[in-house]
């Protein structure tokens, strides 16, 4: 088992004819993901590396049976592309695009929330990897192998770093889910932790957070109330000075709330162990798995 993407995933890639879209769609396909379609308006009927291209997401659903969409269009078109995928009946939408206007994200989130059957992961996320089954997005899949650690992270490269630390210690992953660091992520830590809790393959959950917002604090409450599996956390941004933007819009620190320290304390208060570095985080996970 794993969460969200697996051998049943039938992926449509919007923006497939762009340079990056082609590169990563091809990578995902090569990994073994069923990439059944691409969408680029006006290029319907073409093919990209053997993947048929359609004019609309609706066509990719009707004709190629797509059930998952990866959004790879430029930021100004991404909200429209996500709404199109949802309208076409796609149940899981994974938005890689970085730099989507925050108000676009807000509109999309508010609209999608009205349909509980549709799940958005991202935007501004590296995607989802279920090692040995399917890779959707830009996670360098060859570094990870199948196992029992579920990883959920707001940061792309930090996800790889932590996954890699685990891999070097011999641990594999059920799934690695990047939820993105944008102001309005489609899925929260809680949403993904809930899935890992239900996933039989996952034995331990590693969550990687960062400064800004309150998603980690909310996850702490949720974990204490609902999660039976061990959770280990990492928080980036202890060194960030207050009031400075650190690249993610999600990383605006306002006052004390949202600091790395506040998040660490909130998690530890609920019994979640927090590693001080990616390495220490991996070591704690290892220790817990060893102790089981």
């Amino acid at each position: 088992m794993s969460v969200l993407v697996d051998r049943e995933t039938r992926l449509v890639v919007t923006g497939i004819t762009g340079r990056e879209g082609t590169f990563h769609a091809t990578n995902n396909k090569r990994y073994g993901t069923q990439v059944v379609a691409g969408v680029t308006p006006g290029k319907g009927g073409q093919e990209v590396e053997g993947i048929p291209v359609f004019n609309t997401v609706q066509e990719s659903v009707d004709k190629a049976g797509a059930n998952t969409a990866m959004i790879f269009v430029p930021p100004r078109f991404a909200a429209d592309s996500i709404l199109e995928a949802a309208d076409a009946g796609v149940r899981l939408i994974i938005a890689i695009t970085e730099g989507i206007p925050a108000h676009d994200e807000l509109r999309v989130y508010t609209q999608l929330r009205r349909n509980p059957d549709v799940r958005l992961v991202g935007p501004n996320c590296p995607g989802i990897l279920s090692p040995g089954k399917a890779s959707v997005g830009i996670i360098p899949a060859s570094f990870f192998r199948q196992g029992n650690v579920g990883v959920v992270s707001r940061s792309g490269t930090l996800t790889y770093q932590i996954g890699n630390e685990l891999a070097q210690r011999g641990f594999g992953n059920s799934s690695i889910v990047g939820i993105g660091g944008d102001p309005v992520p489609g899925s929260s830590f809680i949403d993904i932790i809930e899935l890992f809790e239900q996933d039989p393959e996952t034995e331990i959950i590693v969550m990687s957070g960062e400064i800004g917002g309150s998603a980690e604090e909310e996850a702490a409450e949720y974990i204490a109330a609902n999660v039976t599996k061990p959770v280990v956390a990492y928080i980036a941004g202890f060194t960030a000075p207050p009031g400075k933007t650190m690249g993610h819009a999600g990383a605006i620190v306002s006052g004390t709330a949202g600091t790395a320290r506040a998040k660490q304390e909130a998690l530890e208060a609920k019994g979640v162990r927090v590693g001080r570095t990616p390495t220490e985080t991996a070591e704690i996970a290892m220790e817990i798995l060893g102790a089981k």
Partner: protein, 384 residues
């Protein structure tokens, strides 16, 4: 993107939000001419992207031309918490009967705009919030429905606004929300929102933060970025499309992805070092972006050693290695580098570096090892 007060007021005026009239000035002569035109008494206000300018002496009332001249001379060039005042805003002095507070925040936690209103304006609103949270009326808005008239009434009555002001304050909130939405703001704050003795409602201050990602839809706002208000290094980075924040230490940092870079800062700090900057080279960095990044990092004279921490996903390690080699060729850095490459095409990247045999470049296989090495190099010039 933060706007200066006067830019915020000009944005407000476009949306029909009443603001005092005024003029910006960059020199004492301009300021005095503006004051003469506006009439006395008027207010000379420092335009800086930092709060607390009042306490720092950056806001002064001028009764006449002599005072206007003196205040403009004092304020222009003044340093307020590390920000130099390059511009002042001269506006007519307002008669103030009441000082309220109003704001609209893009609330990430609730995933909805949050509108706040309080009669306790004119002071530090965070202090008010701590001392008496009930003094601030709050309301989340469904972004697809938008701000309704009843929202304005609900907030106004909840904040105990006097009955005769419920309608004008509600109308002000409606317009502020319209501006928030139309301009794609992350924050709009009016403190104080004043009531004049004639019971008119006006925005006496304006704090506006726009969403940088939406500026392509707002070319007139995109032009408001004031490079002179930015740190020169940050300005250089911005022009080159890099996310760079200057910090106080001496270890230059480059990574790919904001989370990894923040983590790198933490690990360096834990190893006893002090980072000189945050620099995210971004996803899919190409060689020329790396050259630019090295130039930006080294333009900070405090830097004594540089750490490259790359975990390739969309970024390919061979591209980073190529960029570093090219940068050495162009910039010829005098400080030592520690490079850690992992992820996509890491084998190729490491080989390129090994073949290039750059002077003063050490490699590391883990993030912790890299941090320890660079801290040592910054202290001693020699790797541990």
């Amino acid at each position: 993107m933060d706007l200066l007060e006067y830019q915020g007021k000009q944005l407000f005026a476009r949306h029909g939000i009443p603001v005092p009239s005024g003029k910006p000035a960059k020199t004492v002569d301009e300021a005095v001419a503006a004051a003469d035109e506006i009439g006395y008494p008027c207010v000379v206000k420092a335009q800086v992207l930092i709060g607390g300018r009042g306490k720092a002496g950056g806001v002064k009332i001028a009764k006449d031309r002599a005072e206007a001249t003196r205040h403009a001379t004092d304020i222009l060039g003044m340093d307020i918490k590390g920000f130099t005042v390059h511009e002042v805003w001269i506006e007519g002095a307002s008669q103030i009967a009441e000082e309220y507070y109003a704001s609209i925040v893009f609330d990430r936690s609730a995933k909805a705009p949050l509108v706040m209103l309080s009669t306790r304006g004119g002071m530090d609103i965070e202090a008010v919030a701590e001392e008496d949270p009930t003094a601030i009326a709050r309301l989340h808005v469904d972004p697809l429905l938008g701000f309704q008239d009843f929202h304005g009434r609900k907030l106004a009555f909840a904040a105990n606004i006097p009955a005769d002001l419920v309608r004008p304050v509600g109308a002000m909130l409606t317009k502020l929300y319209a501006a928030f939405e139309a301009e794609e703001a992350m924050l709009i704050e009016v403190n104080p929102l004043i009531v004049t003795p004639e019971r008119d409602v006006k925005a006496l201050d304006a704090k506006v933060t726009l969403d940088g990602n939406s500026l392509f839809r707002h070319p007139e706002n995109a032009e408001l970025r004031d490079p002179s208000a930015e740190d020169p290094q940050e300005q250089m980075a911005h022009e080159r499309g890099l996310t760079y924040v200057k910090l106080d230490g001496d270890i230059g940092i480059l990574g790919n992805g904001a989370g990894l870079v923040m983590s790198t800062l933490d690990v360096v700090a834990q190893a006893g070092g002090a980072p000189a900057n945050f620099l995210d080279a971004g996803g899919g960095s190409k060689a020329d972006a790396i050259v630019s990044a090295v130039e930006v990092i080294l333009s900070n004279e405090k830097v004594r050693a540089v750490l490259f921490n790359i975990f390739g996903g969309i970024t390919r390690c061979d591209e980073v290695a190529k960029g570093l080699i090219e940068a050495f060729d162009i910039v010829k850095p005098e400080v030592p580098f520690v490079v850690r490459l992992d992820g996509t095409n890491d084998v190729e990247g490491r080989k390129l570096l090994a073949d290039a045999n750059l002077p003063n470049v050490a490699t590391a296989t883990t993030m912790n090892e890299a941090a320890e090495k660079v801290v040592e190099l910054a202290k001693t010039g020699v790797a541990a």
